[in-house]
Symmetry: C2
Subunit: 141 residues, 2 copies
Amino acid sequence: MSQSNEHMFFGVHVIGELYGVDAKMLNNKELLESVLKEGIKLSGATLCSLQTKVFDPSGITSLALLSESHASFHTYPDYNALFFDAFTCGTDCQPQKIADHMIEILKPKRHTLKTIKRGEEPEAAKVIKLNKKEDELKKIS
Amino acid sequence: MSQSNEHMFFGVHVIGELYGVDAKMLNNKELLESVLKEGIKLSGATLCSLQTKVFDPSGITSLALLSESHASFHTYPDYNALFFDAFTCGTDCQPQKIADHMIEILKPKRHTLKTIKRGEEPEAAKVIKLNKKEDELKKIS
Protein backbone atom coordinates (compact mmCIF):
# COMPACT_ATOMS: atom_id res chain seq x y z
CA MET A 1 0.00 0.00 0.00
CA SER A 2 1.17 3.53 -0.68
CA GLN A 3 2.12 6.08 1.96
CA SER A 4 -1.01 8.14 1.24
CA ASN A 5 -3.82 8.24 3.76
CA GLU A 6 -5.38 4.93 2.70
CA HIS A 7 -2.77 3.50 5.05
CA MET A 8 -4.57 4.29 8.27
CA PHE A 9 -6.78 1.95 10.30
CA PHE A 10 -9.98 3.58 9.20
CA GLY A 11 -12.42 2.73 6.42
CA VAL A 12 -15.91 3.15 5.04
CA HIS A 13 -18.07 0.09 4.30
CA VAL A 14 -21.12 0.51 2.07
CA ILE A 15 -23.49 -2.47 2.01
CA GLY A 16 -26.77 -2.79 0.21
CA GLU A 17 -29.37 -4.73 -1.69
CA LEU A 18 -30.82 -4.02 -5.15
CA TYR A 19 -34.35 -5.30 -5.81
CA GLY A 20 -36.38 -5.55 -9.02
CA VAL A 21 -33.40 -5.95 -11.36
CA ASP A 22 -33.86 -7.63 -14.77
CA ALA A 23 -32.90 -11.31 -14.31
CA LYS A 24 -30.96 -11.39 -17.60
CA MET A 25 -28.65 -8.67 -16.30
CA LEU A 26 -28.11 -10.68 -13.10
CA ASN A 27 -26.93 -13.66 -15.19
CA ASN A 28 -24.66 -11.55 -17.42
CA LYS A 29 -21.12 -12.06 -16.12
CA GLU A 30 -19.45 -9.68 -18.59
CA LEU A 31 -21.90 -6.85 -17.92
CA LEU A 32 -21.70 -7.23 -14.12
CA GLU A 33 -17.89 -7.41 -14.06
CA SER A 34 -17.66 -4.33 -16.25
CA VAL A 35 -20.13 -2.40 -14.04
CA LEU A 36 -18.11 -3.34 -10.94
CA LYS A 37 -14.79 -2.38 -12.56
CA GLU A 38 -16.13 0.96 -13.80
CA GLY A 39 -17.63 1.67 -10.35
CA ILE A 40 -14.26 0.96 -8.74
CA LYS A 41 -12.58 3.45 -11.10
CA LEU A 42 -15.20 6.09 -10.27
CA SER A 43 -14.68 5.50 -6.53
CA GLY A 44 -10.96 6.28 -6.84
CA ALA A 45 -9.94 2.78 -5.69
CA THR A 46 -7.36 0.53 -7.38
CA LEU A 47 -8.34 -2.95 -8.58
CA CYS A 48 -5.65 -5.58 -7.90
CA SER A 49 -7.55 -8.74 -8.98
CA LEU A 50 -11.05 -10.04 -9.55
CA GLN A 51 -12.47 -13.51 -8.92
CA THR A 52 -15.90 -14.45 -10.31
CA LYS A 53 -17.97 -17.61 -10.03
CA VAL A 54 -21.06 -18.42 -12.07
CA PHE A 55 -23.25 -20.74 -10.02
CA ASP A 56 -25.42 -23.58 -11.31
CA PRO A 57 -28.37 -23.20 -11.89
CA SER A 58 -28.05 -19.41 -11.55
CA GLY A 59 -26.38 -16.59 -9.63
CA ILE A 60 -23.01 -14.91 -9.97
CA THR A 61 -20.53 -13.82 -7.30
CA SER A 62 -17.63 -11.44 -7.94
CA LEU A 63 -15.03 -10.36 -5.41
CA ALA A 64 -12.70 -7.50 -6.27
CA LEU A 65 -9.48 -7.23 -4.30
CA LEU A 66 -8.60 -3.54 -4.01
CA SER A 67 -5.45 -1.79 -2.82
CA GLU A 68 -7.87 -0.18 -0.37
CA SER A 69 -9.78 -3.40 0.63
CA HIS A 70 -12.60 -5.06 -1.37
CA ALA A 71 -15.88 -4.84 -3.29
CA SER A 72 -18.33 -7.63 -4.04
CA PHE A 73 -21.71 -8.58 -5.45
CA HIS A 74 -23.81 -11.75 -5.22
CA THR A 75 -26.72 -11.99 -7.66
CA TYR A 76 -30.02 -13.85 -7.21
CA PRO A 77 -31.77 -13.85 -10.61
CA ASP A 78 -34.70 -15.90 -9.18
CA TYR A 79 -35.39 -13.01 -6.83
CA ASN A 80 -34.39 -10.25 -9.32
CA ALA A 81 -32.03 -9.08 -6.60
CA LEU A 82 -28.40 -8.71 -5.62
CA PHE A 83 -26.31 -8.14 -2.52
CA PHE A 84 -23.52 -5.58 -2.81
CA ASP A 85 -20.70 -4.34 -0.60
CA ALA A 86 -17.68 -2.07 -0.98
CA PHE A 87 -15.16 -1.39 1.73
CA THR A 88 -12.31 1.09 1.24
CA CYS A 89 -9.69 1.99 3.83
CA GLY A 90 -8.49 5.53 4.33
CA THR A 91 -10.31 8.65 3.24
CA ASP A 92 -9.19 8.92 -0.40
CA CYS A 93 -11.92 6.73 -1.96
CA GLN A 94 -15.69 6.98 -2.18
CA PRO A 95 -17.11 3.43 -2.07
CA GLN A 96 -20.62 4.93 -2.38
CA LYS A 97 -19.75 5.68 -6.02
CA ILE A 98 -19.52 1.93 -6.78
CA ALA A 99 -23.06 1.51 -5.46
CA ASP A 100 -24.25 4.59 -7.37
CA HIS A 101 -22.83 3.23 -10.62
CA MET A 102 -24.40 -0.22 -10.14
CA ILE A 103 -27.77 1.44 -9.47
CA GLU A 104 -27.41 3.66 -12.54
CA ILE A 105 -26.71 0.74 -14.88
CA LEU A 106 -28.81 -2.06 -13.31
CA LYS A 107 -31.81 0.19 -12.65
CA PRO A 108 -33.32 -1.62 -9.63
CA LYS A 109 -36.94 -0.81 -8.75
CA ARG A 110 -35.77 -0.17 -5.21
CA HIS A 111 -32.60 -0.49 -3.17
CA THR A 112 -31.26 -0.22 0.37
CA LEU A 113 -27.84 1.14 1.28
CA LYS A 114 -26.04 1.38 4.63
CA THR A 115 -22.77 3.22 5.25
CA ILE A 116 -20.65 2.08 8.17
CA LYS A 117 -17.52 3.85 9.41
CA ARG A 118 -15.01 1.27 10.62
CA GLY A 119 -11.80 1.27 12.65
CA GLU A 120 -10.38 4.37 14.26
CA GLU A 121 -11.57 7.79 13.11
CA PRO A 122 -8.70 9.46 11.17
CA GLU A 123 -7.66 11.81 13.98
CA ALA A 124 -7.63 9.01 16.56
CA ALA A 125 -5.71 6.76 14.16
CA LYS A 126 -2.99 9.38 13.75
CA VAL A 127 -2.61 9.68 17.52
CA ILE A 128 -2.27 5.88 17.90
CA LYS A 129 0.42 5.81 15.21
CA LEU A 130 2.33 8.73 16.72
CA ASN A 131 2.20 7.14 20.19
CA LYS A 132 3.50 3.89 18.72
CA LYS A 133 6.37 5.69 16.98
CA GLU A 134 7.26 7.48 20.22
CA ASP A 135 7.25 4.13 22.06
CA GLU A 136 9.58 2.69 19.41
CA LEU A 137 11.91 5.69 19.68
CA LYS A 138 11.96 5.25 23.47
CA LYS A 139 12.92 1.59 23.04
CA ILE A 140 15.75 2.53 20.63
CA SER A 141 17.12 5.41 22.77
CA MET B 1 -25.94 -22.90 -5.68
CA SER B 2 -27.75 -25.90 -4.25
CA GLN B 3 -31.47 -26.14 -3.66
CA SER B 4 -31.02 -26.01 0.13
CA ASN B 5 -32.06 -22.91 2.00
CA GLU B 6 -28.88 -20.96 1.24
CA HIS B 7 -30.76 -20.16 -1.96
CA MET B 8 -33.01 -17.50 -0.50
CA PHE B 9 -32.45 -13.74 -0.62
CA PHE B 10 -31.46 -13.49 3.00
CA GLY B 11 -28.07 -13.45 4.68
CA VAL B 12 -26.08 -12.60 7.78
CA HIS B 13 -23.08 -10.25 7.56
CA VAL B 14 -20.61 -10.17 10.45
CA ILE B 15 -18.10 -7.32 10.34
CA GLY B 16 -15.46 -6.45 12.87
CA GLU B 17 -12.06 -5.19 13.86
CA LEU B 18 -9.38 -6.95 15.90
CA TYR B 19 -6.96 -4.72 17.86
CA GLY B 20 -3.72 -5.51 19.67
CA VAL B 21 -2.71 -8.47 17.49
CA ASP B 22 0.95 -9.50 17.24
CA ALA B 23 2.36 -7.80 14.09
CA LYS B 24 4.25 -10.96 13.05
CA MET B 25 0.96 -12.85 12.84
CA LEU B 26 -0.51 -10.06 10.70
CA ASN B 27 2.36 -10.48 8.21
CA ASN B 28 2.11 -14.29 8.14
CA LYS B 29 0.19 -15.18 4.96
CA GLU B 30 0.18 -18.95 5.55
CA LEU B 31 -1.10 -18.62 9.12
CA LEU B 32 -3.83 -16.11 8.19
CA GLU B 33 -5.04 -18.11 5.20
CA SER B 34 -5.19 -21.26 7.29
CA VAL B 35 -7.12 -19.49 10.09
CA LEU B 36 -9.60 -18.15 7.53
CA LYS B 37 -10.04 -21.55 5.85
CA GLU B 38 -10.53 -23.34 9.17
CA GLY B 39 -13.04 -20.69 10.29
CA ILE B 40 -14.98 -21.16 7.05
CA LYS B 41 -15.15 -24.93 7.70
CA LEU B 42 -16.40 -24.32 11.24
CA SER B 43 -19.07 -21.92 9.96
CA GLY B 44 -20.52 -24.62 7.69
CA ALA B 45 -19.75 -22.62 4.53
CA THR B 46 -18.08 -23.95 1.37
CA LEU B 47 -14.89 -22.33 0.05
CA CYS B 48 -14.80 -22.03 -3.77
CA SER B 49 -11.60 -19.98 -4.18
CA LEU B 50 -9.26 -17.70 -2.28
CA GLN B 51 -7.31 -14.67 -3.51
CA THR B 52 -4.60 -13.15 -1.33
CA LYS B 53 -2.34 -10.15 -1.82
CA VAL B 54 0.69 -9.28 0.28
CA PHE B 55 1.17 -5.50 0.16
CA ASP B 56 4.46 -3.61 0.17
CA PRO B 57 5.69 -2.55 2.74
CA SER B 58 3.19 -4.49 4.87
CA GLY B 59 -0.40 -5.69 5.15
CA ILE B 60 -2.22 -8.69 3.72
CA THR B 61 -5.68 -8.95 2.16
CA SER B 62 -7.50 -12.24 1.58
CA LEU B 63 -10.89 -12.66 -0.07
CA ALA B 64 -12.63 -16.03 0.13
CA LEU B 65 -15.34 -16.71 -2.43
CA LEU B 66 -17.92 -18.96 -0.76
CA SER B 67 -20.87 -20.88 -2.20
CA GLU B 68 -22.82 -18.82 0.32
CA SER B 69 -21.10 -15.41 -0.41
CA HIS B 70 -17.73 -14.23 0.92
CA ALA B 71 -15.31 -13.74 3.81
CA SER B 72 -12.34 -11.37 4.00
CA PHE B 73 -9.62 -9.87 6.13
CA HIS B 74 -7.32 -6.87 5.67
CA THR B 75 -4.35 -6.67 8.06
CA TYR B 76 -2.55 -3.55 9.30
CA PRO B 77 0.60 -4.74 11.10
CA ASP B 78 1.66 -1.12 11.80
CA TYR B 79 -1.53 -0.74 13.86
CA ASN B 80 -1.51 -4.34 15.21
CA ALA B 81 -5.03 -4.55 13.80
CA LEU B 82 -7.19 -6.16 11.14
CA PHE B 83 -10.55 -5.65 9.49
CA PHE B 84 -12.69 -8.73 9.05
CA ASP B 85 -16.01 -9.56 7.40
CA ALA B 86 -18.00 -12.70 6.63
CA PHE B 87 -21.28 -12.74 4.77
CA THR B 88 -23.26 -15.95 4.26
CA CYS B 89 -26.59 -16.25 2.50
CA GLY B 90 -29.39 -18.47 3.79
CA THR B 91 -29.69 -19.79 7.31
CA ASP B 92 -27.45 -22.89 7.13
CA CYS B 93 -24.14 -21.19 8.02
CA GLN B 94 -22.86 -19.35 11.05
CA PRO B 95 -20.46 -16.61 9.86
CA GLN B 96 -19.90 -15.62 13.50
CA LYS B 97 -17.85 -18.83 13.84
CA ILE B 98 -15.26 -17.48 11.37
CA ALA B 99 -14.83 -14.42 13.60
CA ASP B 100 -14.73 -16.59 16.75
CA HIS B 101 -11.96 -18.75 15.25
CA MET B 102 -9.87 -15.74 14.18
CA ILE B 103 -10.19 -14.29 17.68
CA GLU B 104 -9.23 -17.63 19.27
CA ILE B 105 -6.05 -17.97 17.19
CA LEU B 106 -4.96 -14.33 16.77
CA LYS B 107 -5.72 -13.40 20.40
CA PRO B 108 -6.48 -9.67 19.96
CA LYS B 109 -6.38 -7.51 23.08
CA ARG B 110 -9.83 -6.25 22.12
CA HIS B 111 -12.25 -6.54 19.24
CA THR B 112 -15.52 -5.18 17.90
CA LEU B 113 -18.13 -7.24 16.04
CA LYS B 114 -21.38 -6.23 14.35
CA THR B 115 -23.99 -8.65 12.98
CA ILE B 116 -26.27 -7.36 10.24
CA LYS B 117 -29.25 -9.27 8.83
CA ARG B 118 -29.55 -8.56 5.10
CA GLY B 119 -32.17 -9.06 2.39
CA GLU B 120 -35.60 -10.46 3.09
CA GLU B 121 -36.25 -12.30 6.34
CA PRO B 122 -36.66 -16.04 5.56
CA GLU B 123 -40.47 -16.06 5.90
CA ALA B 124 -40.87 -12.96 3.69
CA ALA B 125 -38.44 -14.45 1.16
CA LYS B 126 -40.52 -17.63 0.90
CA VAL B 127 -43.67 -15.60 0.26
CA ILE B 128 -41.98 -13.58 -2.51
CA LYS B 129 -40.79 -16.79 -4.18
CA LEU B 130 -44.22 -18.45 -3.90
CA ASN B 131 -45.91 -15.35 -5.34
CA LYS B 132 -43.44 -15.34 -8.20
CA LYS B 133 -44.08 -19.04 -8.93
CA GLU B 134 -47.84 -18.44 -8.90
CA ASP B 135 -47.38 -15.53 -11.33
CA GLU B 136 -45.34 -17.77 -13.61
CA LEU B 137 -48.00 -20.52 -13.46
CA LYS B 138 -50.67 -17.95 -14.33
CA LYS B 139 -48.61 -16.84 -17.34
CA ILE B 140 -48.25 -20.47 -18.51
CA SER B 141 -51.91 -21.45 -17.98
